[in-house]
């Protein structure tokens, strides 16, 4: 039940942020679908492996892969699709709890949530970095091979 609610709300969160970033037209809808699917991927991998770092990294890698391919198909900047789709993964909750435990002098909980915040941010960054470099190199080689064939 909780998972379903999260998947549905992540659709609206991604699509809403696409509108905030001034994306127009049907793209907004697809960005919402992408956001929801990537969150579903996160929940699935998290369920199977139980490893939050791994699952966030996989989910952000999926977002990057999808937006790199789709952006070349419909000829828009990659960042237009990628940034709003990544929004549900942004660790706003961890940021808040870290801050609130710090203020309330609960050191053990503060350390725990700071660790979780850094882990989440690191996982997303790692997913983006690895996939972006793989995808850009792949497309560079792909276009070179394609232009040689002609």
């Amino acid at each position: 039940m909780e998972n379903t609610v999260q998947i549905i709300t992540s659709f609206f969160a991604s699509a809403g942020f696409a509108l905030i970033f001034n994306v127009h037209g049907r793209k907004t809808l697809w960005i919402g679908v992408g956001g929801a699917l990537s969150w579903a991927a996160y929940l699935f991998v998290n369920d199977v492996t139980g490893n939050m770092f791994m699952s966030l990294m996989m989910a952000s890698a999926a977002v990057v892969a999808v937006s790199e391919v789709l952006a070349r198909k419909i000829k828009v900047p990659v960042i237009m699709l990628m940034a709003p789709m990544l929004i549900p993964m942004v660790p706003g909750g961890a940021l808040y709890y870290t801050m609130s435990y710090l203020v309330r002098d609960e050191n053990a909980m503060f350390a725990e949530s700071l660790r979780s915040l850094l882990l989440q941010a690191g996982a997303i960054a790692a997913g983006i970095i690895v996939t972006t470099s793989v995808m850009t190199n792949f497309f560079a080689i792909y276009y070179r091979v394609k232009s040689k064939k002609k």
Binding site: V5, A13, G16, L19, V78, I79, V90, I128
Partner: protein, 261 residues
Amino acid sequence: MDDLLISLDRQNKLMQVMACILDIGATLLANGAEVMRVEDSVSRMCHAYGFKRADVFTVTSSIFLSATYADDNILSQNRRVAARGTDLEKVARANELSRRICACPLPLEELKEAVRGLDDAPVYSERFRFLLYGGIAAVFTVFFGGTLADSLAAGLTALVLFVAQKLGSRLRINSILLNTVCSGIAALTVLLLCRFGPGQNPDKIIIGNIMLLIPGLALTTSLRDMINGDTLSGLMGFCEAIIKALAIAIGSALVLYGLGA
């Protein structure tokens, strides 16, 4: 002397073309595109207009362009981008224009017209964005496990947040201070709504509003900059985003600490 005059006129024209190209580059940079896309577009457009060499260097807020024309004229211009925002529609349009120019360079007057046209990109109305803020905060509160009452409170808080942001940017408050103040105001509103209004879990409601403030696009862009080898711009953007996130945390921390909640 005559010869010199003709070349001056020509030089003037070339400078105007470069200014237009820089305008397109600045539009990309100011609205959230990566450094690599800016540099690549500017140098491609220069080549399309017959420059045989174009050296572009872009950092977070400036573009430096030095270009050699086919007749060995060397010209250079800088462009400083004052404010950076996020308008991906403008990025897409500038990108499309640059593709069009590379395929077939426009005459100078048409080029100027097209560059001016970039500012007419459609934007959503203020009222729509106001309601959107409320909607997104409400959705995020449910996402993070809040109840329906919480999501109502989050929506109301986000409307206050929107007004605070608008007022702050009209007063030209520095953006880091603005983030601190806005998250403080949001936290205060949430606490008030929890005491006298529908709110039940202040933490979930505040998180829903924090999500609106976190510089998600800046973080993504700076990561992509670093991967593309533009480490300097990437690091600067990354630092800026981290400082903003800290400012947001400090803003709500001050309120929570001050009220002992």
